[in-house]
Symmetry: C2
Subunit: 329 residues, 2 copies
């Protein structure tokens, strides 16, 4: 064998090693995002084609915006924040602008975000004037020694962090106001209490983040706090397992610790993501609660079980096409 042949052989071997490495690298570095815009009584017969189109369009915008952050090498935290901000800004969802009203006719927002790399988290409850709660959750996580702030104190911190402060009027939508009047009239709360938004993302570095933002429950009283700002209930992320964001009857989500339970079932019982996600929704059903979750694991697998008639949801994982869904299938 002469030196040229030897060199050629080495080159081919190196190329082969590189290809295996690249394939492996690619497989290990799937990235993507999954979002929800709330679960509840969402039936095709009650939905006009225009309304359905509006929801799909806004979900798509949030999804693509988050995905582009990841594609450009951005962090999962940035992707979650970007996707949720778009849904907060849209009056279609029960978060930020377009949030539901309390019994007193005010709007009180709850929010949380979690970083699966460090298990750091930020959350706030009872916000009345912070335009984008998800931005505040991130600031609490990164610029305060605390995880959770509430009410006026939280808003004072938001001001110190130079976040945009708005009047309550900013959040007002006629549709939610009418919903409050309907609920007050006939106490048909169950139809009106969902609509939370959330996102879970996995970035190119394998970091998972999750976030959830909501106006809570129509006609809520006494400073009610739901699951959305509760780390472990409405939101959880751990790079070793998965990220989760929930939407539904928050009291049940708190009692069952829904979001972290998905992670615990994966870590302690070796369930895969789908098994774990379905198991917690089964627990929710058994306890009498309604709602759904979105979940994304470290390998880019997704799950999005719910026990209501519909859940606004979408996902976009690298290597496959984006998917947007509303009804049960």
């Amino acid at each position: 064998m002469n030196n040229f042949k030897l060199l050629g052989g080495i080159k081919i071997a190196l190329l082969f090693i590189f290809m295996v490495f690249a394939a492996n690298f690619y497989a290990q570095n799937k990235f993507g995002i999954i979002i929800h815009g709330g679960a509840g009584t969402i039936n095709k017969e009650n939905m006009s084609p225009e309304k359905e189109e509006a929801y799909k369009s806004k979900l798509g915008e949030a999804l693509l915006t988050g995905y582009q952050v990841l594609e450009n090498g951005g962090s999962s935290l940035d992707a979650v924040e970007a996707a949720i901000k778009i849904m907060e800004d849209s009056p279609l969802f029960n978060a930020g602008r377009g949030a539901v009203f309390t019994a007193e006719g005010t709007i009180e927002l709850d929010v949380s975000i979690m970083d699966g790399k460090t298990l750091s988290a930020g959350a706030a409850a009872g916000l009345k004037h912070v335009k984008n709660p998800i931005l505040l959750a991130r600031k609490i996580m990164e610029n305060s020694p605390h995880v959770m702030l509430m009410g006026e104190g939280a808003e004072k911190f938001a001001e110190e962090q130079n976040l945009e402060i708005v009047d309550q009027e900013y959040f007002f939508t006629k549709e939610r106001w009418d919903a409050l009047q309907r609920v007050k009239e006939n106490e048909k709360k169950s139809k009106e209490k969902h609509g939370t938004v959330g996102a879970v993302a996995l970035d190119k570095n394998g970091n998972i983040a999750a976030g959830t933002s909501t106006g809570g429950m129509t006609n809520k009283q006494w400073g009610r706090v739901g699951d959305s700002p509760i780390i472990g209930a409405g939101t959880y992320a751990d790079n070793n397992t998965c990220g989760v964001s929930g939407t539904g009857h928050g009291e049940y989500f708190i009692r069952l610790g829904i979001a972290k339970d998905v992670s615990a079932l994966m870590e302690y019982k070796n369930y895969n993501l789908q098994q774990a996600a379905e198991e917690v929704i089964n627990k929710l059903t058994r306890l009498g609660g309604t709602g759904g979750i979105i979940a994304l694991d470290k390998n880019g697998n997704i799950a999005m079980p719910f026990n209501t008639s519909g859940m606004y949801r979408a996902y976009y994982i690298s290597g496959s096409e984006p998917v947007i869904k509303i009804y049960k299938e």
Copy 2:
């Protein structure tokens, strides 16, 4: 063998079966209570004999009061409530009267309770005028459709439930005020932030309940909410596994979902109570947090690990003597 001998044999056999059944019944129906008055930098050299005696005496009073509820056939919820109320009323602990001050010089109390039989729970954050937060947590659980209330809304509900409302002055103690000044001067927060109280009880019917009550962290800002009112973080109870109450650096307890993690390790990994409790405190240590937990399982086993120099703690399980401890052993 004549009939008399046969009857005698049957009698002895029946007596034996009855004794086995009774012993088994007794073993299955252990009852008892475990309480804590906070974990932190608690060293014998810094503690006067009088102060030590005062703590032990008050812990003993809370313990015996809770135990008597159980002995008289009362529920674990009643026992937890009674024990915590005594510690809230005592200025020795950072809960109710004697709670620590916020940066603004106010007192803001957090609380939760959980029923392991139904997984029902009640919690409140940011209370300024409710004399006994633990009574409010119970009312929220039993008389509202919600799990968690905050701030003025929670206090409005407390008034509607005819709970005793007090001025902020009621909670004031000179010791805590001086602590705030010390912390503001030298930012030595770590020494001052513990002192939460909690209790877990198992009643004669096998029902487990857990509760936690606190003033939070000295010099806390911006409406900070700790782990004590967070179901799954500071408090958890499930008849199938155990009840848990935590005390320590709340942010870490929230991020790790400490209280429910003990239950999850027992349910999903078949850990016994001691293994599960120690594992979560190991996680706390690895993440850089300090504190401790008390835990009681459905068979009357107890665990009370902590990674600080001391934790005020006591337990009294049927069939054995009451135990009160302060320092590490």
